[in-house]
Amino acid sequence: MITDLDTYRRDLILALRVRDVPGDRIGEIVAEVESHVADTGEDPHEAFGPAREYAATTTGLARSRWGWTDLAVAVAAGAAGWLLAGGLLGLVSGTSLGPLRPWAAVALGLAVAAPTVVHLRRTTSAVRDPRTGRDMAPFPRWAPWLLGGLLALPVAVAAVVLVAFS
């Protein structure tokens, strides 16, 4: 029963997220489902129908399509990553990234990354539980470490290779 509700809740949050529903509204909808199911003892799937269908009927929204903003964010993230990785590698190995000096590449990478991260943080509001004010879908504690590690790994491997062969 508990696992049923957990799965339903996760599916519902995801289905509302891909419809670009604001975090506070998602929290409200999920809390209604939880509260109703706690009162009736019903299966959420039975009472509210499939999570994806309920997300569609209750908001009247379709899945959001990729737009130009998303494309710009993806390109900016890719460019920032490439500049930062290339610049940092350049700083370690002493070679430059095409016409750019390593420090210039790092600076440019940071200049592109900062507004991109700010934009992403602003557009993805937290799913706030209206009953407790707590975040319903918190970012796992290990996630920043994993992301940081994934970014640092190629740099570290390249640095080791460069040091070993020089």
Partner: protein, 115 residues
């Protein structure tokens, strides 16, 4: 008659917003209690997936307002009350509903004929 409790779904869809508004106008209440009240009134079992969008729609239209409150030992519940605009809407719609259903009923064959 055994047609009770299994009304055509488009009938329910038409009457639900007004019925829900009427139930909430009786007293401040929450989702599950509204569903129970509708069932007791003989409208059948209204599922959560149907009821909550109606409640939220009425709130969006400014006919109700809601607040979350901690239940006794249980999880919080969202309580709804009718606004002044909601009472006015209920009064107007109730008059219109009686007129409308009266005219529709007058159009139908009498119960003796339909047996």
């Amino acid at each position: 008659m055994q047609i009770d409790e299994s009304w055509p779904s488009d009938w329910l869809r038409a009457v639900l917003p007004l019925s829900v508004l009427a139930v909430v106008a009786e007293e401040e209440t929450y989702g599950y209690a509204v569903a129970q009240r509708l069932r007791e009134a003989g409208l059948g079992a209204v599922k959560g997936g149907t009821l909550y969008p109606v409640l939220n729609r009425l709130e969006e239209d400014g006919l109700m307002r809601s607040s979350w409150r901690e239940g006794a030992g249980g999880p919080g519940r969202k309580f709804f009350t009718v606004t002044a605009a909601g009472r006015a809407e209920l009064a107007g719609r109730t008059t219109a509903w009686h007129l409308f259903t009266g005219r529709a009923t007058a159009l139908l064959p009498s119960l003796e004929d339909s047996r």
